[in-house]
């Protein structure tokens, strides 16, 4: 009989029994509702062992590839090690290899982490200042391209973690980080699909990873990157991104400022307004969003109303913490 390993306990499946039934019969508490694979309340993740295609129906591709499945639809045929949603991410040790300013408020932090394992450009990690205090930062690095994990850390006023990173952290220091998390990443499923990447402030970080990861995978469709800030001094990596657009005819880079008259080839306005006025046929696009949660939320809705499909919109919503 296949076994199910969860929370350090082993559960034995009866023939034809679903993961959800096995767990609840044995007294484990798993939230569930429709028991028909529709409501997705019983979403769980398989860390070891494979789950049926049936149990991943209706899930986003980035969830499927990371082993997420619906417990009510999964009849295991082999031993599965599974975890609950939001299970405490494994913690890893990393060493700071570089801290470099990107503009007046954002530094690049390069971390070396030998236990990182596979990660995907666009995912995020939690950085721990101490046992009880951590913040999420998107990865700007891409596997196979960058030797280290890189983060773009903006100094937040009174920010306890960003203040520590900007003020105290030194090259050579050891820090604790989480394993990579999040579902906002590129999959080489359709190399011709047009991509729209939209971010504000240090929300450029995952997009900088994703755009290079997509090109690294041979993406051929047009890639439109809109990076916005209130003022020009909030933008960064401008030369690198211009060089990337120069090298790849498919890449279109639009640095945007919303609170000042643009100089050079900057665009004036909010990224979502500019992108919506530039682009048509959004139904065909794959979209990646990162930045202030209000921007992400409103952009998601406006792009959807303009024809983008929800399953093609990727964004990790960061919860804003009080400092």
């Amino acid at each position: 009989m296949p076994e199910i390993l969860l929370d350090d306990k082993t559960y034995v499946s009866a023939v034809g029994e679903t993961v959800l039934d096995t767990l609840t019969r044995s007294g484990a508490t798993v939230p569930s509702s429709c028991h028909r694979g529709i409501c997705q309340t019983c979403l769980m993740r398989a860390i070891d062992g494979s789950v049926s295609a049936e149990s991943q129906k209706g899930l986003k591709d980035t969830l499927r590839i990371r082993g997420y499945f619906l417990a009510c639809q999964c009849t295991p045929t082999e031993t599965l090690r599974i975890e609950r949603l939001g299970a405490e991410a494994r913690r890893l040790a990393a060493t700071v290899r570089a801290i470099t300013p990107l503009n007046h408020e954002i530094v690049l932090v390069a971390l070396e982490c030998s236990d990182m394992g596979d990660y995907r450009a666009g995912q995020f990690i939690n950085v721990f200042k101490d046992e009880g205090l951590s913040r999420s930062y998107s990865l700007a690095s891409a596997p196979g391209i960058d030797p280290h994990l890189t983060l773009h850390v903006r100094k937040i006023e009174e920010g306890r973690v960003s203040g520590w990173i900007h003020g105290a952290l030194q090259v050579g220091d050891h820090v604790t980080i989480s394993q990579p998390l999040g579902e906002c990443f590129y999959l080489p499923s359709d190399p011709e699909q047009p991509l729209l990447l939209m971010g504000t402030g240090s929300g450029l970080a995952p997009l900088y990873g994703i755009i290079r990861d997509a090109l690294h995978h041979g993406h051929r469709g047009p890639i439109h990157l809109y990076h916005g800030s209130r003022h020009k001094d909030g933008l960064y990596l401008i030369n690198e991104l211009r060089a990337l657009a120069h090298k790849h005819a498919s890449v279109h880079y639009h640095p945007c400022v919303s609170r000042e008259e643009p100089s050079e080839d900057l665009r004036r306005g909010r990224v979502v307004d500019i992108a919506l006025s530039d682009l048509t046929g959004l139904g065909d696009f794959r979209v990646f969003l990162c930045g202030h949660p209000d921007m992400v939320q409103s952009a998601k809705k406006r792009l959807y109303l303009a024809g983008a499909s929800l399953k093609n919109i990727y964004a990790d919503a960061f919860i804003r913490s009080a400092a």
Partner: protein, 122 residues
Amino acid sequence: MAQALFQKIGGEPAVNAAVDIFYRKVLADDRVNGFFDDVDMERQAAKQRAFLTMAFGGPNNYTGADMRRGHAHLVTRGLNDQHFDIIVEHLAATLKELNVAQDNIDQVAAICESTRKDILGR
């Protein structure tokens, strides 16, 4: 009979195609979008998916009591017959766009109608 309707409309692929169109119509309609303005669009879309599966006569475990409980907070915010009718109209228009035959659309509307009292908490 309900299962037969679900198959005629096109089953699960039809639900998936309809959700995107239907939810977009609802979100764009200022008369009703206040009831659907969840911060989490994915979760809201999943709920619409469950609703359409039910309305298409597909497999579901929803009871009248579930419908009542699930919509009670919206009734206190003013959900009424007019809103209900608008939602059913958007659903019918969605199915028309997907070239579903009129008699099947009528059957979907009838299934919706059967839930009116529970949804409006009467």
